[in-house]
Amino acid sequence: MNERTCHEPYIESLLDENCPRALQKDLEQHLENCPECRQRLFDLAADDYIWAEATSMLSTVGDIRLSAESAQKIKDTTSFLVSRLDTDPELPDHSAPVGYDWTKILDPPAHPEAVGRIDQFEMESKLGQGGMGIVLKGFDRELNRAVAIKILAPHLAANGTARKRFAREAQAAAAVVHPNVTRIYSVKQSPQRPYIVMELGPTESLQNLVDEHGPLDVKNVIRIGLQIASGLSAAHKIGLIHRDIKPGNILVEKDVSRVMITDFGLARAVDDVGMTQTGWLTGTPNYMSPEQARGEELDTRSDLFSLGSLLYFLATGREPFRGEKTYAVIQNIIHEHPVDPRSLNSEVPKYLADLIQKLLEKDPGHRFEDANHLSNVLEKYLAYLEQPGQMKPPKRIVSSRTKQKQWIAAGIASFVLASTASWLLLFKQPIQPTENPDQLSTKTESKFPTEAVSILENPVEEPEKSILELNSISNEYQFDDFGYFRELGEIKSRMKTLESQLLAPNQNIQGPGFDNHLPTMPNLESSDAIRSLDEKGLNSDNKLRIKKFD
């Protein structure tokens, strides 16, 4: 061999991933027989000690193992933090304390009962204080009306970007004129104390309301949801995303007759590394959408998700996504599905639960199309709840999760219907099953294999009871026409009759009233059956009950 004298000139090109294939093949073969070239390649890649370092660094990593769960948590939060920075690169200094003495930023009042003054506004009292600033009740001497005034906190006001953003978002929000959105009258861009003059709305928030009184009743949840949806719709139409829909940002009249959305877009103005304001690391991000939690770009459907969480909270008194630590909350928002609100409050009707579920879809494309569509749905539902006798029940809401369950449900149900139908068709012609058992089994098996046979082998014990139960289902679901379920019950009872006739040889199967009462189930194909069941709102729950009868 030529170990000592090998001067293969192309070894270095092997490290280039674009090395020509043929050359690489040749060199690979050469390497197998030439230790000298092997060593050269080894050295070219990295010095000896770096190879050794790689070995020890990469292999001893196992000494502290992250559980898959923790690794995932860290990954998720890392990408969250990273993307927050990318999308919101303007970072105001948020380190100043929140509890500053706000009276110092006011001028002496002109009116003896006022606590201070800015321009023509006499300040009367404090309405609220948060990380962003302070909200005061004021009186506009020029226009002679009471207003709410939000003054940006001094440490934020000192920050040019935060100040500009505050003004920009407020100006955008000022374009929204809607009874359910706090009206913004004007924006003052003074560098020392920029402030917004707003309509003086109710002073209670939904958070206070639920904290004090617990979950709201269904109609109020729907009324409030409807108002928020229609307010959002007005804002979304001009491209404004709220970004921070949560109970604390919805003001409500004492009698719950009217709610108002506040702080449109303002969350963005003080987004601190994307952390403080949205709740990461310091507060609770419970109402964030998954796309927000991942730090992705948002569209208006993000607000719909937050509204879903809010409705869930109103209906149950609990946030849908909880966790002791922010890590857990973010995880849950991104990966988990909340427990059925009906398990927390049995008074929540299935319709509302489905509606909330649909708002809480992880994929924005699976939520309601837009806030306007949602408000139409809520409006119809509210009308139905208020006049159940006169209004048609709303169409069932299908979310991807209910779909999944329903698919299974509809499958089984269609089976019951279709197999029964085929039996009825079969018996409509006066055949003599006892004399022709082969025909029977082949006919059923051709369309509905073994299960059809087994259903018929285990007929309904007490058809009347089944019908009663089906009726009660129909009541529970508030469907006024529940004909299909009744028909199903009748079919089953007919089956019972048929069966007894089957068991009694030689007896003619034309039972009493058989022809007259035959339900209309023309040529049911299983897909038709599924559709018809879907339309009638048959879902997994009543499906299971039906199955019980089999």
Binding site: L31, A54, I74, L81
Partner: protein, 208 residues
């Protein structure tokens, strides 16, 4: 008031800089798991370690907000690395003792036998180095065919013989030599790139 536009927050400009945004991402990718692993090394259970990690990150984030470029020498990366090191080491020292597990490299043993060297600092450095390698490996892995990657991993990290790996992966020995060297060259570059950006580094290489 003096010119309000000049007050504070040159930071805003700085982080608009995509380079610094990239630095922040890289920082989190490396240091987030690192802080967690160090917390575990201090004897914390997973849940507590996650809390601690969150705490430390919060403090880092706050510090980032206070940072004025120009006041500090060096890059944003370097600065981040330093404040993190100080914060974490403070935290580790506040724990009574750092249990060094048995399978440490020679550095770990050296620390135990040499009380003069600051144990905490050494542990930090070791873990940091490991995490940088791990991050580098992770970040380049998907630029290779899985087979090439395995050829590197099995021969270099798991230290299996070329013949065994050849059989296991159904690759020629020559192909394994080439694959592992390509991975190594890229890994080295990635580690160096990070270290050079963060500080001047022990891994100088004559072939670059």
């Amino acid at each position: 008031m003096s010119d309000p536009l000049k007050t504070r927050n040159s930071l805003i400009l700085r982080l608009r800089n995509t380079d610094d945004a990239a630095a922040w991402q890289e920082f989190l990718e490396i240091y987030h798991p690192l802080i967690f692993r160090l917390a575990r090394k201090c004897g914390l259970q997973e849940a507590d370690a996650l809390d601690t990690t969150q705490e430390v990150l919060t403090r880092i984030a706050k510090a980032v907000n206070r940072w004025e470029p120009g006041e500090e020498k060096g890059s944003f990366r370097g600065w981040l690395g330093r404040i993190t090191r100080n914060l974490v080491i403070d935290f580790m020292r506040s724990k009574k003792r750092i249990p060094l597990t048995g399978n440490e490299s020679s550095i770990g043993k050296m620390i135990e036998s040499n009380p003069v060297i600051d144990e905490t600092d050494q542990v930090y450095q070791l873990e940091q180095q490991k995490q940088i390698f791990l991050w580098a490996a992770e970040s380049i892995e998907n630029t290779f065919q899985p087979k090439s990657w395995k050829a590197f991993w099995m021969t270099t990290v798991e230290q299996k013989t070329i013949d065994d790996v050849s059989k296991e992966l159904n690759m020629t020995r020559g192909a394994i030599y080439v694959a592992r060297s390509r991975v190594m060259a890229k890994l080295k570059k990635q580690v160096q790139r990070h270290l050079n950006l963060e500080r001047s580094l022990p891994l100088e290489n004559s072939h670059e």
